[in-house]
């Protein structure tokens, strides 16, 4: 019934093969190592800025926060400052908790039909947990990769590497984040495939980025732990990119690296046109980033325009006699 994942999976596999063959067989190192990464990055920057500016151009006519707790009203009633923020500061806290801790997802429940015709709503944290695992490990992986794009490597990167490699097991020393990322992505995928409701709403645009990220994680882990690539050559290439003096290092780099790099390029270029823009969208969500103080502070609607109303004069005109008869005061006798 749902071939959506197939499209996506096949696309990702084909993309991988293209990059591999392109480099190993056709010798297109420059295309895959320099041109495509730059192109992808430029598309990302322009596309991302475009989208955000496009959003910002749309008006916010009304203050419509979703209130999830007690409003500020009488002094002795305890306001829920996070879920029903009244001041900008409280809004900032709400947004931070949302962005950093996925607070709304943490509230998730599962509806169940139990014995005795009872409908139950059970608190479930799996989605929240998987999402947190996925996003944070991704962040750590991305920051760790700065070691390839900076020289000297800044302290926070080395520091993060130390934390990430804290276990000091295996060789090369295991970075937890890489495996966590793969696990997170796989868990999200498994959810999508095996939960009937989720499978039903999922489309290629949902599977594609997941498969792509899984591809990135798998090729990355492989390079580090299994097939060994020449990290020094890779850093030469990436430093060339980061200092705008691109070159393909002598001796060449394994095709596997180019598959990894190509996947990353595709992902980066894909971001502005896809649901991954939720990373920008969350900041602009009017149900979260506005204060619940609309009765105290007037919110301006930039396109507010006068409308036709039924004025009191017209009303009295319609009903004057009846009003008089009923003893209701009127303006004009």
């Amino acid at each position: 019934m749902n071939a959506a994942y197939l499209y996506s999976l096949v696309t990702v596999v084909v993309l991988g093969l293209i990059a591999y063959a392109g480099v190993e067989a056709a010798g297109l190192d420059v295309l895959f190592g320099v041109i495509i990464p730059y192109l992808a990055f430029i598309i990302f920057l322009v596309g991302f800025a475009n989208k955000i500016i496009d959003w910002s151009k749309s008006a916010v006519p009304f203050k419509i926060p979703t209130t999830m707790g007690q409003q500020k009203s009488l002094a002795w009633i305890k306001q829920n400052k996070i879920d029903s923020p009244y001041t900008t500061g409280q809004v900032v806290i709400r947004m931070l908790l949302e962005i950093l801790l996925f607070r709304s997802l943490f509230k998730n429940t599962r509806t169940g039909f139990g014995a005795g015709r009872r409908i139950s709503y059970k608190w479930v944290i799996w989605l929240w947990l998987f999402a947190l695992l996925f996003h944070y490990s991704f962040l750590v992986v991305v920051i760790r990769h700065l070691r390839f794009f900076t020289e000297p490597v800044p302290f926070f990167v080395s520091f993060l590497e130390r934390i990430d490699g804290m276990l000091q097991i295996l060789l090369p020393n295991i970075f937890l984040s890489g495996f966590a990322l793969l696990a997170g992505a796989l868990l999200l995928l498994v959810r999508r495939v095996f939960l009937p409701k989720l499978a039903y709403i999922s489309r290629p645009a949902d599977y594609f980025p997941l498969f792509l990220i899984i591809g990135i994680a798998v090729t990355g882990l492989m390079m580090r732990y299994l097939s060994k690539v020449d990290v020094i050559r890779i850093k030469e290439l990436t430093m060339g990119l980061a200092t705008l003096q691109p070159s393909i290092p002598e001796g060449g780099i394994s095709g596997l690296f180019y598959v990894h790099l190509f996947f990353v390029s595709i992902l980066v270029a894909y971001i502005p046109f896809s649901k991954i823009m939720h990373m920008g969208g969350i900041f602009l969500s009017p149900t979260r980033n506005l204060a619940n103080n609309s009765r105290a502070k007037r919110h301006e609607n930039p396109w507010n325009y006068p409308v036709k109303t039924h004025t009191y004069e017209e009303y009295e005109e319609d009903f004057r006699d009846k009003m008089k008869e009923a003893g209701i005061p009127v303006e004009k006798e």
């Binding site: 749309s58 006519p61 709304s104 949902d206 149900t287 039924h310 005061p329």
Partner: protein, 544 residues
Amino acid sequence: MAETPKPDELFENIDHGMPDEPWEEVPPDLSEGRFCYPTKKKNLEYLDMPTTTKDEWSPADAEWPIPDNWKEIIHEGFKDRLEKYRSLKVFMDTCVRCGACADKCHFFIGTGDPKNMPVLRAELLRSVYRNDFTTAGKILGRIAGGRPLTRQVLKEWFSYFYQCTECRRCSVYCPYGIDTAEVTMMARELLSLLGLNINWILEPAANCFRTGNHLGIQPHAFREMIEFFCDDIEEITGVKIEPTFNRKGAEILFITPSGDVFADPGTYTMMGYLLLFEHLGLDYTLSTYASEGGNFGLFTSSEMMKRLNAKMYAEAGRLGVKWILGGECGHMWRVIHQYMDTMNGPADFGETPKSPVTGTVFENAASTRMVHITEFTADLLRNNKLKLDPSRNDNKVVTFHDSCNPSRAMGLLEEPRYVLKHACNHFYEMPENTIREQTFCCGSGSGLNTEEIMELRLLGGLPRANAVKYVHDKYGVNMLACICAIDRAALPPLMDYWVPGVDVTGIHEMVGNALLMEGEAERTMDLRFEPLPYAEETEEDADE
């Protein structure tokens, strides 16, 4: 409807399994009983709205009476709204289909129809958005989740956007705060561009525009009805109340939904207000012009909402009151709290509301100048300004239903509870995942309180009813209190069907029952003319 199946049968038939075909290929069910009746053309005309090409039509018809350039109209309308509402644009772009909202919608829980999952409801609009307005959609079409606008899609919109009560429960769980209410509002605006609207919304809207209230009550009748309640009050309490109408110079203008004037059990709540104001000796007036708190414009378009709401400020200004007190109503308070000041403000009358009884200044209403009656009453109780005998409500075991709008678009959670707990001695909360910001809709909000879709309403109200059943079975709850006029109309049939033995009340009916009026005769009946519980030795006023 006569052929509504028995509760057991209806419950058993709820199926949450997903169909085999992709949702894009499943046509909407537009058989009788599954759609709201379209609006009569006269309402559209009266409200200067675009009309359909035929006077009489049914959503079950294969061909809908829409203009030939309907696609263009929708496209332009869509484009316009994307520019005017950032909410729409961001909500179209950011959904990742994580599924958190899927089982949060009362209509999905009740019907099992996948397109009642908020994510798919929004996807109905989103698919067209992608196809028409995004780069990826223009290039990749279906693969990017795009879908051209067809008549079938339009029918889907009509079906499912009039199967959403704009309750915002899904937006609580969405990690990006995507609010289906907002999406539904936009979709209804788009449908209205073709004259596709429902009668149960537009008839009240047209009435309201003309007479000031949804029910089309004309000024003299309005006065008569109120006076009729005053007679009842006198019969029950021996206290004579003479409220004023359209009185200039009053301190406070009181506005409540007209449902409270017209239909039981709202009328008892109205009697409660009148008793309370008399008890306080409040300098207030009622208005026959601003005789409606509710606003069915909210369910039509922001323009209509603004047109209908304008009378409140206009009347307050004309009468020269200091501030406005608002009655118990759900969507009325969404409009007042989140839209009114922006649309119809800034208020050009009066001052920051201040309780004449306690001196409390309502800073949180400084700009809008409109205070919720439970905020007002809670403040009175806190300052010991009311004499109450809650034991008069001892035959009532009460629970509280948070109405969607006050809870999720206002944050009014504690005030009604505080009042309720002072007005009665037996109060029990429903399970925590079904109250406060997680409350379930009555299943009939946003103008869907119409008879022809009774089965849908009963299914949509099932999660609420099921939670009431829980406290009914466990604590013997027999009274469901709420602060919404639509609730007071929609919940009684819902209770009769799923939880027989539970009545519905407004908070101020409970207050009215408990109020010890000055000079009152010994009461034997409550406001419904039902006998008061046997007067035992008065228990100490339970103030927990």
